[in-house]
Structure formats: structure tokens, C-alpha cells
Symmetry: C2
Subunit: 433 residues, 2 copies
């Protein structure tokens, strides 16, 4: 079957993902056209410098620096430039011109999602962004379409491959944080400026996108409680291992079940039982648990990064957009906003594992336990050990029962001030139970 | 937002899934309407006997036996009757009347899929069937849309919850096949007639649907090579456990890479390494691996059965169909057929694990090894043990390297005829490596 109609595709950006998208569009053009029902013609590729050296060879005649002409002549615009501007202006221009948009730009969606979806709704264009979260793992479409008839309770997973690679290397190979980061940089898991990954910004952007979709509520990146892995040391990972845990950077979006309701969206490193499926997510992989009222728990797993893997998600969106374009009618807008309130971190309940160095004197454990009791935090496990033979320092590891984050952080603050506590070694939440 | 337009929904069937769909449509009507952009009105429920007792209470005034009137008045028809007729006629009537169809009927799609999709293409109606495979796990939509721009190489998974429950009970609780089946029946995992599950028909139907979608090739249920779990004994499971394996009923759809090409679609019980993620799929759960050229390996995991879980998938399709209905335009047809050839089972390559009882005499292992060598099958592992102290019988377990299924089955046939072999205890393929 040779489709009669031609759809013109504009590609904005030719980085690691963009160049793979271009290659696959050119190499698999016939197959993709058959599936779309229209000939997909790569009309041009917007680049900053057409003569810059590239890893993947791209036809010179397709490269252009004229964004306006390229966008105005396109039926489908693929935006893979990253960053806010000029990506935002280009996406809005594409929507206004009646094109369907496919983007992998999580920063853009997590900050200007509302503006973009509203613009698309007004003209009936579609905006697809499967590539923005967890690379090739289909998670956006399952949330938006497959689970559209269900009520999502919780999303919970590893959505940043770089930090997972680092934490996994520290856990499995006993590397220090510095060594693990160096290898991650060498292997291309970390950017030259690793802040976005290490400090949890990237995971928080993805959490904002997932929460917006799952709870039909506009969640902006700034609303996400964010803690990165900068403070996670090799010692903390070794301690976790001895206690049967592994440390993972988690993104958690949940509907709160207390009477006040609302949702909590947060990113932090947490302890996960080694028997939990998320503990077996190694290297740069991602895995996302989705719990819905009717469907129960579902898990999605796969590569969380990589140019060609992400290109797969982009092309899936392109084929869907092409089918829609041919079928006619307007794009399916983002679901009506429920505007659930966002709960501050203090309102969630969780479990803490608190490691303290204390004076090795009689009565210290009783003092520590007394502080927890006064704050209404119940102790689940307690372990006291002496550091060395002649040491005057003992170590206490306390695992709490579930309590409000506020009570737990107040407890830690009081412990830090207590005269018997020499040092708060680490405080980690325990998740996945 | 109160949507202005109303879409009338006809529900055919009020069994365990249908009654949950009705309940959720009635209870969550407002939320579903907001997400759809139209008021979803349950217009009626087709049942055989409106006065029959039901687990879930349904409004008596919605129950009807008049299929024709119900279907003709509907915008969206949900078919959850199961079986071929009258489901097929009702679905075709719904399509002809311009309704969108949502079905969970795997038997219907695996035998009459081509006819139904063709009818839908002709009038521009949509046919959705997320519930037909792996209940609430989104797998149909990811294959059809998210991976539409990629080339799927292999699908590989546990798609029948009943047999997984039985095999898992035998493995974890040491039950006999009979005991495990009895419990599965008590818990509702097995139908009164368990043949469909035990003999692999249900898994083969799902494999046909997945392969059709993944390879853009019409695969009918009759084309699927099918072996069930009837011959799997507690001894085989105990042997597997000792060797570090677990036995799972697998559905495998793969593109063959040999020069002849084509695809292989098959269902059989196989040995899986206990470290493999599929080995940890317990109870009635399902898990499906999808390997695509660009995306790499992906895994989808969740409940593989259950009324309310399956209802979640049905309602996801209903909301999507409603959005499409409102957006206008024609339904997105099934992707153009590639018509890849279906390879007979003999052409695939796999690994066998062969357990034999042989006479405990010198030279027997050499004779056995000689037969394998003559058939061109290379031995990876061999273990000979004597059964009891005074036994004249020894047991040989041979794991082969990868070889063609034809060579392997020829080898087993020759071993069975050999004078030194008393009994072929079991022959199982090894997968997931």
C-alpha cells in the first residue's frame, strides 16, 4: 500500500535524540508511512549551526536555521531542543499554525505545560510527549488513555537513569559517590553540568508531568518537594545494604487519603527493601509503579535514557499524530482539570530510618527513645552498636513506624539538639512497604 | 465543567467484568464524563435473563434482552459476552450502525479479528480491546500507539493468570497439579471447564492478538503452536527447582532473523532461570516483555485477571472512544498488514532440557551423547545420577545448546527409541536467556 497523502515533518533539534529520530525517519520511512497511512516527509531539521560536526550523519540539505519557515510549512512539529526558550515560542507557533506537536521536553512541560495545552485545546491540535518521561517506556499514553477510566491512587518509581546508575554502582561495586559520578559522566549518563540530575530537578520535572496527568490537576515543577542524591554517601549505602535495603531516588505522586485530601508530589532518595521489584532496577533503567483503584498495581520497566530509545517514543507519537491528522477532527485535549490541592511535605506520612552517633553511656538509648515517644513517633526497630573496642561512641539505628513527616522532622531536630547525640549520621525515608 | 453532549453506551453482558463496568459507569459517572468531555449514559445492559441472581446489584430497568434496539441506539457498544456468537453478530451490527466498539473478547478477536477490523475500517469506526489481553495491564495501546514508530522483535510473557497461579502454587507450596487446580477453581481462577486455560487455548488466543498487532500481520488463533500445562507434574517442577529453574507457561511471538524471515507464535510451558524477572511473577499476575529495535526491552506487569481489574481496561477504552467520538473524524484503523509468513515450530531455535531414565550400565552416557552428536545437537550440561542405592536405573539430565526445534525433536524421538533409554521423563524448552 502506498499512501497518497504526504505529511511534512519539521524536526527542531539534532542532538542525541533528534539525530536518531532523523535517522529512523529516513531509514524506516516506508514502514512508518505504511503504519501512519500517509507518507511522512522529513521537511527539515532546525539546527544552530548546519556545519557543526555531528555523531550521526544527516543530509546537509535538510539542515536549516530558519525556524519560522520550517514550522509554518509543517503538519507535525517535533521539538527536541530542550530548555525553555526558544523551544516554548516554537511550540506555540507550531500549535497556532495548526500543526500537531510531539515533544520530549520535560523542562518545558513541567513549567509551561498549562499554557501549551491550553493553546492546543483552542485550535484542536494535539501535543504528545511520551519521550518526556522514562524514554521509551510507554507511561504517558497508558496514564492518559489506558487508565482514563480508572482512579489513580499512586505513582511511584525510578524516573532518572543517571542517578540510578550512580546509586547502583555505589551499591553493587562499592564505589564512592565521586567515582560513580566520574564513570557516569564518562559513559554519557551525566551531562557536563550534572546538577539537573544529581539535585533531583530532572526527576521533579518528570514527577510534575506524571502527577498532572494522573490527577487531572496542574502540577508545576516548583510545586514538587525535591531532595537530590548529593548527600548520599558510600557509608549510607553500605549501612542500607547491611540492613537489607537499597537506596533509590524515588519520584512519588500520591492522592492523600486523609480528610483534607489533595495530592503530594515529591522526589527524594529513600530506602527500599532489597526484595522489592524496584530494588532490582539496575544501571540506567527506569521503572514506574502505578496503583489505580480498579486496576491494582501495575509496573512499567525499561531503558530510562538513550538517544535511540527515546527516539522510539518520539516516533510512536509521530505515527499516532499522523493517523490523527489523517482521520481528521480535533486533537484530544488534556483531561479536564480537577484542581486538587497540593499538600506540603509535612502532611504526608512516611517511615524514617535515623542513624545517630551517641555517647556510649548508660541511659542514652532511653533518652533517645524518650524523645521519639514525646513527639508521638513509635519505634519499629532499634539497634545499638559500639563503633570500636575502646570507643566512647555508640551508634543507634532507629526505624520508626509510619508517622507524619512533620512529627518525624521535628523529632530529628530535637535529636540533633540533644546533649547525648554527637551526630545525626543519616536520615532516610523507607518506601515501598 | 458539565459536558453538554451525551453519549449513549450499550453494555452487552453482565458477567464478572460486565457487572463491574456497569457499577463503575454508574458510580463514577461524573468523573468519567469530565474526562471524556461528554456525559456517558449507560443506556442498557444486554442479559440473557433479567431476573437471574447476580453478585453485583444492577438497576433492573437497565437490563434488557433486546439486543437490536440497544445496539442501534448506542454511540459506544461494550461487548463483554465472550464466545463467538452472538458476540460476533452484535459487534458487526454495532460497527455498521456507526458505533465505536470496546470489547474484551479474545476468542472473537483471535478468530474473527480480520473481519471485524475490516468492517470497522470501512465505516471509520474504532474497535478497542485493551481488556482482551492481560486484563488491566496496558499492553494493546502501547503496542499499537507508543511503539508504532519502532520495530518489534519479540514479545515474551505470562499472559494466562490461571495457569500461572497453578504452576506457582506447585512451585512455592509443593502442591500436586490436582491440588493446585482444585484451589484455583475454588478461588475463581479456573472456569468450570478449565480446558481453555490448562491446554493453552486462552494464552494462544492472546498470543495471536499480540502477534497480529506487533507484526502488522494477521495471525489467527489456529496458527499458534500450542502446548498446555496438562503434562507438567510436581516432579518436573521439583526437578526444575533443583536445577535453578521455574516452569512458566509462556506466550512467545518473535520475528525470525534467519534468511527466510517470517514470524513464530507459540505457547508452551518452559524453564526460566529463577533470576529472570518472569520467575518472580506470582499468583494470578501477568507480565509481558516487549523487545523493540530502538526501545530495547520493556516490561509490563500487573494483575492478569479479575472483574474489576479488567473493567479498568474496558473503561479506559470507553473514555478514549468517547473523546474520539467527540473530536469527530474516523476511527484509527488497524495498521496496514505486512503479511509476514508464519514459521512452523520446527524452524525456531531453542534450547531443550531432556531428562531420561536409563539403564545404569557403563557406556550409557556415551550412547546418549552419541545420538545428540549425530543429530548435530551440542550438549551444554549433562548430569547423571543413580536413583537409589541398589537401583539398576540412572537418571540423565541433558541441557542442550541452541539448536533448531526440528533437530531437537528428532533427537528426542531417537533417544526414546534407543535401547539404553528406559523412559523419557520430561522434555522442556529453556527460555529467557
Amino acid at each position: 500500500m502506498t499512501p497518497q497523502r504526504t505529511l511534512r515533518i519539521a524536526l527542531l533539534g539534532a542532538g542525541s535524540v533528534g539525530s536518531q529520530v532523523a535517522r529512523l525517519l529516513l531509514e524506516h520511512g516506508e514502514e512508518l508511512s505504511e503504519r501512519s497511512g500517509a507518507r511522512l516527509e522529513l521537511a527539515g531539521i532546525l539546527v544552530r549551526d548546519p556545519d557543526a560536526p555531528r555523531d550521526t550523519e544527516l543530509p546537509r540539505e535538510l539542515l536549516t536555521t530558519d525556524a519560522e519557515a520550517l514550522i509554518l510549512g509543517a503538519d507535525i512539529v517535533i521539538e527536541l531542543m530542550g530548555g525553555i526558550e526558544p523551544a516554548r515560542s516554537h511550540v506555540l507557533a507550531a500549535i497556532r499554525s495548526g500543526a500537531d506537536v510531539v515533544t520530549g521536553n520535560k523542562a518545558l512541560l513541567a513549567t509551561h505545560g498549562a499554557e501549551i495545552f491550553e493553546a492546543a485545546d483552542q485550535v484542536g491540535a494535539s501535543v504528545s510527549y511520551e519521550a518526556a518521561v522514562a524514554a521509551a517506556i510507554p507511561i504517558i499514553r497508558p496514564l492518559r488513555d489506558s487508565l482514563a477510566g480508572d482512579r489513580i491512587v499512586r505513582i511511584f518509581g525510578i524516573v532518572n537513569g543517571s542517578t540510578n546508575f550512580i546509586l547502583d554502582s555505589m551499591d553493587r561495586d562499592g564505589l564512592s559517590a565521586q567515582e560513580a559520578q566520574r564513570i557516569a559522566t564518562e559513559l554519557g549518563y551525566l551531562e557536563a553540568d550534572p546538577t539537573l540530575d544529581l539535585e533531583g530537578y530532572d526527576a521533579a520535572q518528570k514527577a510534575a508531568i506524571l502527577a498532572s496527568l494522573a490527577f487531572h490537576t496542574q502540577v508545576s515543577f516548583e510545586d514538587v518537594h525535591r531532595e537530590g542524591i548529593e548527600s548520599v554517601t558510600a557509608d549510607m549505602i553500605a549501612d542500607a545494604r547491611r540492613a537489607g535495603y537499597v537506596i533509590k531516588l524515588l519520584a512519588i505522586c500520591e492522592r492523600l487519603s486523609d480528610p483534607e485530601g489533595g495530592v503530594s508530589v515529591r522526589v527524594y532518595p529513600a530506602l527500599i527493601d532489597r526484595e522489592h521489584p524496584l530494588a532490582t532496577v539496575h544501571g540506567g533503567n527506569n521503572a514506574v509503579f502505578v496503583e489505580a483503584e480498579a486496576a491494582g498495581p501495575l509496573m512499567f520497566y525499561g531503558a530510562g535514557a538513550g538517544g535511540v530509545q527515546t527516539a522510539s517514543a518520539v516516533l510512536g507519537d509521530v505515527v499516532s499524530a499522523a493517523r490523527r491528522h489523517l482521520a481528521g477532527g480535533v486533537g484530544v485535549g488534556e483531561s479536564a482539570r480537577q484542581s486538587l490541592s497540593l499538600a506540603p511535605i509535612g502532611r504526608i506520612t512516611t517511615r524514617y530510618q535515623i542513624t545517630l552517633e551517641v555517647e556510649d553511656l548508660p541511659g542514652v538509648l532511653a533518652t533517645v527513645a524518650g524523645i521519639l515517644s514525646e513527639e508521638g513517633v513509635s519505634v519499629a526497630t532499634a539497634l545499638q552498636t559500639v563503633e570500636g573496642e575502646d570507643s566512647a561512641t555508640a551508634r543507634i539505628v532507629i526505624g520508626t513506624h509510619r508517622a507524619s513527616e512533620q512529627a518525624l522532622s521535628d523529632t530529628v531536630a530535637r535529636l540533633a539538639e540533644s546533649s547525648v547525640v554527637q551526630r545525626v549520621v543519616s536520615v532516610l525515608r523507607v518506601e515501598g512497604e
